[in-house]
């Protein structure tokens, strides 16, 4: 695959498949400071907008990665091409992950500018929460061939964390907000396993 082909695929996907979800995440980014006072927050409160609200970005951008090919006609067309479908999924996943980092990283810097008590762990934890929510949706969507189910599973994990966060142990996504002492790397590791498993499962699935 040459770089020109790669660029065309990325541009086309960004325009047709990614833009609505990027706009939705950007809307969330603008909405958070309106409802949540971002000024001189202490360490624990500073984690809330990142872990509890901007983490939804992961659900919005990672869950629909498989969506276009879940239309059987598109899937058949894509499969008839020389380029491997998994590579397209990887491209979509990579720019989604980058976009999440931009949103959460940018907001962390904005919070720092607003004299909130934030450090690199806020970014790591917020990004971990978004990654985990997104990877749950990604996994269910990839394995079941149903993006709606992916969004549902991701939402359920999010809501369950609100009610029973600490009971999830290392998989609680509100690590700093709930002061769980959870090992954040576990969130990253489980997310990686979910994403890789979904990609493998999709590759070996004959039909949706």
């Amino acid at each position: 695959m040459n770089s020109d082909c790669l660029l065309r695929i990325t541009k086309s996907n960004l325009r047709h498949n990614f833009l609505p979800y990027a706009l939705l995440s950007s809307g969330l980014l603008l909405f958070v400071p309106v409802i949540f006072g971002i000024c001189e927050l202490d360490r624990q409160l500073s984690a809330q907008p990142l872990e509890m609200y901007l983490s939804l970005t992961g659900m919005f951008v990672l869950t629909p990665v498989f969506m276009p090919e879940q239309n059987t006609e598109i899937r058949d067309t894509v499969r008839s091409k020389r380029m491997d479908c998994t590579e397209v999924y990887l491209i979509r996943s990579l720019y989604s992950l980058l976009f999440m980092a931009l949103i959460i990283g940018g907001f962390t810097l904005y919070m720092h500018h607003m004299n909130c008590d934030v450090d690199k762990w806020h970014f790591i934890s917020g990004y971990g929460a978004a990654l985990f929510l997104g990877s749950v949706g990604f996994f269910v969507s990839g394995v079941s061939g149903n993006t709606v189910a992916g969004f549902m599973a991701s939402s359920v994990v999010y809501i369950a964390n609100f009610g029973m966060g600490k009971k999830f142990g290392d998989l609680c996504i509100f690590t700093i907000s709930y002061h769980t002492n959870g090992r954040i790397w576990v969130l990253y590791a489980v997310s990686a396993v979910l994403i890789i498993t979904a990609l493998i499962a999709d590759r070996y699935k004959k039909s949706i």
Binding site: R15, Q48, N71, V148, M152, A160, H179
Partner: protein, 417 residues
């Protein structure tokens, strides 16, 4: 028969499986373990906890002291949209707040400033925080002579408006500053008798059951309905179904009924499990053997209908993803921005009704008319949304309407054409 075919389709969908898992998890993790702790008859001489009693003479100085503490710290914690906002008043706002304190206490602005220096100061750290906080204490704080509670409420509401709303200084939230008194044996016994005799045990437990399951039943059915409604489009069979003889009303109503029935059955089965648990835990006590089922239908069915109809309507109009995102937004608004009171705060348009206790029957019954109104209201809204879904389906069938899409997608198609 079409209804049973649709029920079968619902049953074998992935989203229904997730629905079952979530509802069972909610039932076991929240209700089952709470209900396991039996309510015992109070014994004379025991400790029955505390309750607050309204006492204007306690509320006014306590609320004023807390208000002055925040004023001196220059920081007020507010929840204008249900989320925390630290408000730092500017000089103009501070002047207005100072004049309110002055009117409440009778002190001049200079005396209020002096009081800051003479107040007892306590430095403390909040949990997990490394920044010290200062608490000013005013043991002998006086309220201006002739200050009535009504006028005090007006002034405190004015302060709340200056702060942008959502502070703890508003007339509705002043009971927080009220006096705490111990609950007497007679009061505890009366509460127990309400539970055992008026509610016949299961009445109270049924309320707790509906309270817990009502949280999820407002959201999860939206996903199931959205995925189910989207199936035709996903499988590219919409056009085939459009060409069939069956009327749009019959098709949409059958699907709606299938979704509602299939999602209601597990809830009723869980109500039966809760009933059996109650019969075992309270054996020898007279129980109301129907209330678990009647209250489930009365309390949860309108929510289930509304969520299902919402999922169907939005999916027909646009896409299942939009239905899900809007569903989450509505749920978030109801749960996070709704009432803070978990017991005794029911209003006529509440979608999620909260009564997180098997006790306090009288508090629930005091709001019973609002409860009934809200249930009828949401059942009515559900029927309006189903009618809307039929109309949209009919228009799409006639080729008059297509689902709404984001403009840039259509632009691309047009440019190609």
């Amino acid at each position: 028969m079409l209804f049973f075919k649709e029920c079968k389709k619902v049953f074998f969908s992935v989203t229904y499986f997730i629905y079952l898992a979530v509802m069972i998890l909610m039932f076991i993790s929240q209700y089952w373990f709470d209900a396991k702790i039996t309510v015992e008859k109070p014994v004379e001489g025991g400790d029955f906890g505390c309750t607050t009693v309204f006492d204007a003479e306690t509320i006014m100085p306590n609320a004023t002291a807390a208000f002055m503490n925040d004023f001196y710290n220059g920081e007020f914690i507010c929840y204008p949209y249900g989320f925390i906002k630290k408000v730092h008043p500017d000089a103009f706002e501070n002047e207005k707040l100072c004049s309110i304190i002055s009117e409440i206490t009778g002190y001049s602005a200079a005396e209020i400033e002096e009081l800051r220096n003479s107040a007892a100061v306590l430095e403390y750290y909040e949990e997990f925080s490394t920044t010290p906080k200062i608490q000013y204490k005013f043991p002998d704080l006086k309220i201006a002579e002739g200050m009535t509670y009504e006028h005090f409420c007006e002034l405190i509401d004015e302060a709340d408006d200056i702060l942008g709303g959502g502070s703890s200084y508003n007339s509705d939230g002043l009971e927080y500053y009220s006096k705490e008194v111990p609950i007497t044996y007679e009061e505890a016994l009366a509460e127990y008798n309400e539970f055992a005799e008026d509610d016949k045990v299961t009445g109270g437990l049924a309320r707790l059951f509906c309270d817990y399951l009502g949280i999820d039943i407002v959201l999860i059915p939206v996903f199931v309905a959205a995925a189910f409604t989207y199936t035709d489009r996903k499988k590219k069979i919409s056009d085939i179904i459009y060409s069939r003889k069956i009327s749009s009303a019959k098709l949409v109503l059958t699907r709606f009924a299938a979704l509602v029935v299939m999602m209601l059955i597990p809830v009723l089965l869980m109500a039966a499990a809760a009933h059996i648990q109650a019969a075992k835990l309270y054996s020898g006590t007279e129980l109301d053997n129907t209330v678990f089922y009647t209250l489930t239908l009365e309390w949860l069915l309108p929510n289930l209908m509304a969520a299902t109809a919402f999922g169907m309507l939005i999916t027909e109009l646009s896409s299942p993803i939009i239905a899900e995102i809007l569903g989450i937004a509505v749920w978030f608004k109801e749960v996070c921005l709704g009432s803070y009171e978990l017991v005794g705060d029911i209003s006529s348009f509440d979608l999620i009704i909260r009564h997180n206790s098997e006790m306090y029957r009288s508090v629930f019954m005091a709001n019973y008319s609002e409860f009934i109104f809200s249930r009828c209201f949401w059942a009515g809204i559900a029927l309006v949304m189903v009618t809307g879904t039929i109309a949209v389906y009919e228009l799409k069938r006639g080729g008059v309407l297509n689902e709404f899409r984001l403009p840039f997608k259509n632009n691309k198609i047009k440019s190609k054409a």
